[in-house]
């Protein structure tokens, strides 16, 4: 089974998000970088499937050269090939351009080492949404470009022993929604689908030496144009302290009553 996993380099956000002086991007001078928890789970899911069915995991990202750090982290977890769709630093690709760039890779056949008419990968996995821009659409746009079925927000994925179909499910408003899809297909996953492993030492060493394929990309401008970013105002005042320890319980009961939670 040949699996493509799409990931994105994003800043590690700790205390608060701060912006650059021009207000057009997140200030990352003091932050590390990572991929989102959804994508860590996508990589783990892919590695587990290849352990079961054979084949290989290819990981791809669209980003600056520095995103090789995230590709190597994925290689350390068990991906065997990595592709960097390289953006000039500072250039952001929107969701339409991102799907188009990923499409160019998703058509590639690992076995034939060329572009295959029916696409080379049995399964393309993405995170449900990127943790920074949160566009909620790249996986679906990619699936339409490929002409393949897609399921999104998936928290349980089960591939038939034949390797020909998958059953994917998620919870929605307290009910379980289950989708059946033929392979090849596209699936976007969410954190919770599995518990990702830690990289092994041999994995890290292999990742350090691995060659990464680099392809320059110039994204087209999007129909939705960002004009500025801002951090929302802190909405609340200082909390009213109801008390300390069990002595606060009567005040807590009064507060619950005033809020209408108890009658």
């Amino acid at each position: 089974m040949e699996i493509l996993v799409c990931v994105k380099r994003v800043p590690t956000v700790g205390g608060a998000i701060t912006l650059t002086a021009d207000g057009r991007s997140v200030d990352t001078r003091m932050s590390g970088f990572t991929i989102s928890p959804h994508e860590e789970c996508a990589v783990e899911e892919a590695v587990r499937l290849v352990e079961r069915f054979g084949g290989s995991v290819t990981v791809v990202t669209l980003g600056p050269v520095a995103a090789e750090e995230q590709l190597r982290a994925c290689l350390a977890l068990g991906a065997s090939a990595a592709i960097l769709l390289e953006l000039v630093p500072g250039v952001e690709a929107g969701p339409v351009a991102t799907a188009a760039a990923l499409f160019s890779v998703a058509q590639f056949s690992v076995a034939q080492q060329s572009v295959a008419a029916d696409g080379g990968f049995d399964l393309v996995l993405l995170g449900n949404e990127a943790s920074d821009t949160g566009d909620y659409q790249v996986g679906i746009r990619l699936a339409h470009l490929l002409g393949r079925p897609v399921a999104t927000g998936i928290k349980s994925l089960s591939v038939a022993d034949s390797g020909e179909s998958v059953v994917a499910s998620r919870t929605y408003r307290g009910a379980l929604e289950t989708f059946s899809l033929p392979l090849p297909c596209v699936v976007t996953v969410k954190e919770g689908i599995n518990l990702p492993r830690y990289p092994s030492l041999p994995g890290r060493l292999r990742a350090k030496r691995a060659a990464i394929t680099r392809v320059p990309v110039s994204p087209e401008p999007e129909g939705l144009r960002m004009t500025s970013l801002r951090v929302p105002d802190a909405p609340r005042q200082q909390a009213t302290v109801l008390g300390h320890g069990v002595a606060a319980v009567p005040a807590l009961v009064t507060a619950l009553s005033e809020l209408g939670v108890i009658s």
């Binding site: 956000v13 679906i140 927000g153 408003r173």
Partner: protein
């Protein structure tokens, strides 16, 4: 301009997230009407629903037209998108004038259907908007990045927007659902969609998730537990309190990473965004990814041993103390209060 709003229903009533979307859509339609000096000759605001139209709710929200799509059994995202797309062509709505905006709730389904519509039509889509203004032809929106920790101001490029359609979903935790000032008579238009091959290939089969129907996303009371709970067993008093208050338990990311509770209960950027009347956060320090998931709560009470924890300063009310002492005492007090 016509504003279409995809409406999701549950047991015949419009879900909270869709009521928020309808509120934003109604404001946008009023903008458009004002820009066109009060008449553009066509419907300006219409709901789209799959299945039976919830006319009472639509009347209360001032939605004069509803397109009721039949013939699609259950939830099939691409088929829903195709049906929505069919409304945008002149055939079913010949009186439609000018451009259109399609609005949906920023739910798993709403974002998914509009992304399909964007892919089918090659139109841009803005996910999880908190505001939208029709500024005389240019559609300006504010949308959430980082699950709402950052806001993006953006504009649908005029060259694109003049001609066809803008797609946007509405954040589930910011715009408040507000009924219209007065009831509106609702005209129902039956629609039989024209689907393309493969549109029904992916469809949901719904079964109970075994949660007894209680859903974190829609609960009115959420009792939150974090690292301070300390163990899987430590959640028993929180469960007891949740049952007393008619709520459900939600947890922080560390709790699911430790395997104390299932991931379905995780509140936050990569879990569920909640919008309860009360979030009672126990032993949760308040990482910003968690705050992103609970900032839609109307009221927050935090219980923590550390008075300077971000969750404590972010809350409306705070109790400085050990949750393992405070929660059992609160449960006892509530039981005593309820006793005759």
């Amino acid at each position: 301009m016509t504003v279409f709003c995809l409406v999701e229903t549950d047991d015949g009533a419009i879900i909270d997230a869709s009521l928020r979307a309808l509120t934003l859509a109604r404001g946008l339609a009023a903008d458009g009407l004002a820009a066109a000096n009060g008449s553009n000759g066509g419907p300006v605001l219409a709901a789209v629903v799959f299945g039976d139209p919830p006319t009472a709710d639509l009347a209360a929200y001032g939605i004069p037209d509803v397109y009721a799509v039949s013939g699609i059994d259950g939830y099939a995202p691409q088929a829903w998108a195709r049906a929505l797309g069919g409304l945008l062509s002149p055939e079913p709505a010949p009186e439609m004038a000018g451009h259109a905006v399609v609005v949906a709730a920023g739910t798993d389904r709403g974002n998914e259907v509009l992304a399909h519509l964007g892919a089918i039509t090659r139109l841009p889509m803005a996910a999880n908007c908190t505001a939208a203004v029709d500024n005389g032809g240019a559609l300006e929106i504010t949308r959430q990045r980082w699950a709402g920790l950052l806001l993006e101001e953006a504009v649908f490029e005029e060259a694109l927007f003049e001609a066809p359609v803008a797609l946007l979903t509405v954040a589930t935790d910011v715009v408040s659902p507000v009924p219209a000032d007065e009831l509106t008579a609702v005209a129902v238009h039956a629609v039989e969609p024209v689907l393309a091959e493969g549109d029904l290939a992916v469809r949901a089969v719904e079964t109970s998730a075994g949660t007894g129907g209680a859903s974190l996303a829609t609960a009115r009371v959420v009792i939150g537990g974090g690292r301070g709970v300390g163990s899987a067993d430590g959640f028993a008093p929180l469960e007891e309190l949740a049952a007393l208050l008619g709520g459900v338990v939600g947890v922080s990311r560390v709790v699911t990473s430790e395997g104390w509770r299932p991931h379905t209960q995780q509140v936050g950027q990569t879990g569920t965004k909640i919008t309860p009347d009360l979030y009672l956060a126990c032993g949760i320090s308040g990482a910003i990814q968690h705050i992103a998931g609970c900032s839609g709560a109307k009221n927050i009470i935090a219980i923590n041993t550390d008075p300077d924890a971000p969750m404590m300063t972010r809350a409306d009310y705070a109790v400085v103390g050990n949750l393992h002492e405070v929660i059992p005492a609160l449960v006892a007090a509530l039981r005593e209060r309820a006793a005759p």
